[in-house]
Subunit: 323 residues, 2 copies
């Protein structure tokens, strides 16, 4: 099953959000306009808006109200990707050139700032002060997450706790908030909002762990960038972190890469295979499953609307996705 099959029934509302993203991002400034459109066209799964829409099914579903939170949430996500690519010096994302490589770091900086500002500008229009509060807290967490990413980059001496805290801020919080705000926007009961928040948090953690696994085990074609990219950009993720502990030789290889060694493609393949042998991938999958099981459990608390099945399918998809 493809991810898009799961939310096929939402396609007309997703199209509305896509249109709103386009008009919100529209700029007079020529470079800003081109860069933003490039970013929008580069696509993405739009998984945050999907979570918002599904969560909206637990209240008085109204696409106009839902759009008001779905659009800023996706914009915040997009803005953070543009700045992340600068930090990671990333040439490609989803097989497309990043803004920092198509233009330069300057354009990437202000395009990210611009999209971020448009997101918060749109948020200020929201009637519910709680939405405003939750969104601005999420932005704070994501900002701090970016800083943690900079701080931890090129640092091989990390532990599980640091890794989990970083991916929480980088990914899980925004997905959790997407689930919560979708429900809040249409006045779903508070217990439902909080269950959905916890579901989103756990799914988000599993999602990022899977992302970090795929960076090692998927093909270059599937990833849209070379395998092992994270390590080569100085980002130590769970599979490497775990296997470093268990294999001294592998450990010194990984430290060298993080310290700037540029391994040949063949050498990188061997390191990836050692990471698998040392159990880094299996351990990470187990960790991801643990979060997914917590997510399933949260769903049990929710009323039996059809959207519940979609939430279940998405969590299941994340556990088995190949790219």
């Amino acid at each position: 099953m493809k991810l898009t099959d799961i939310y096929w029934h939402l396609r007309s509302d997703i199209a509305k959000i896509e249109k709103e993203l386009e008009s919100t991002i529209d700029a007079n400034h020529p470079v800003l306009k081109k860069a933003s459109i490039h970013l929008l066209k580069a696509g993405g799964k739009r998984i945050r808006p999907v979570f918002v829409l599904l969560a909206g099914k637990f209240g008085n579903y109204d696409i106009e109200k839902i759009k008001q939170v779905a659009v800023p949430l996706e914009l915040i996500h997009m803005a953070s990707l543009v700045h992340d690519d600068v930090i990671d010096d990333a040439e490609l994302r989803r097989g497309k050139k990043t803004i920092m490589s198509k233009w330069d770091n300057r354009v990437a900086m202000y395009t990210g700032d611009y999209i971020f500002a448009r997101a918060i500008e749109m948020t200020t229009n929201c009637e519910k002060p709680e939405v405003h509060q939750i969104l601005s807290d999420a932005m704070v967490e994501m900002c701090i997450g970016e800083v943690e990413q900079i701080r931890d980059q090129y640092n091989w001496n990390q532990n599980l706790k640091i890794y989990l805290r970083r991916i929480k801020r980088k990914t899980a919080i925004l997905i959790a908030v997407s689930c919560r705000l979708g429900a809040l926007a249409v006045d779903a009961p508070r217990e439902v909002q909080l269950s959905l928040y916890r579901y989103g948090y756990n799914v988000g953690m599993a999602f990022q762990i899977t992302d970090d696994i795929l960076d090692f085990i998927a093909t270059e074609k599937e990833l849209g960038k070379p395998a092992g990219s994270d390590l080569q950009h100085g980002n130590v993720t769970l599979p490497a972190l775990f296997s470093m502990k268990n294999d001294e030789v592998l450990r010194s290889y990984i430290i060298n890469i993080i310290n700037g060694d540029k391994p040949e493609k063949k050498e990188m393949e061997e390191i990836i295979s050692s990471i698998k042998q040392a159990g880094g991938v299996d351990y990470s999958f187990e960790m991801s499953d643990r979060y997914l099981n917590k997510a399933y459990k949260e769903l049990e608390n929710l009323p039996d609307f059809p959207a519940k099945e979609s939430f279940y399918q998405i969590a299941k998809y994340i556990g088995t996705r190949k790219y």
Copy 2:
């Protein structure tokens, strides 16, 4: 009279804020650490903390409470300067190399993001939800201001309204908020807070207009960068805006610079002299005075504490400052 003479009596509390700025900004990441320290050492008038301290004199003055708002306010200001320098491609600020020229745009981007994140992180600790709200609104306005600056850069076809809205977001709001939050932090009465906000807004507008005037009339030594820098970075400010309307020949010269002409030093001097002759500088001083008069008027509403005299002196200083 020098600006520092006016707040000489606050020097020990300013030193406390300086120390707190240093410890807040401290980072583990080596480049981040060096860049932040460079920025801190490059100085600045710390005028926003001064406004906070003075405003604090209208309530139960408590430096511990005041620090909690003064530090994030100065950090937000510093972060915005770092990103502004990337947008303006500015080599120098106050005679010192900017982060983007000492390192590069990438470092400037993430140093700005880092300082911004530290500011909002510190804000979340604040007990008063109103402080949180006012500060985050100010950040939104400044973000939008940055976007307006990007949009209006290299665009000579502007009007007074666009200019005033931009400098409001770029400068006046943060000064207004500094005055208000200093009073709010120590529970000064609400009318006092609002009067101080309006005082700060008007002083802030006059401050930025004077800054924009000085870019044309001060010497390179006083400015710490060449005169006419704004124009050469594509930023159309009030003196140029006004004189373009009244002098067709000058207008075409200015349009050429904004479109990328790099004038010789001698040629720039002639253009500056034409701007003066066309009345651009006089008009801008009048506009600045208009805002200062409104600021004085706001002070009349305040109780007669000694801090009121300092506020008066600062406004007077802004009207006569040479750099």
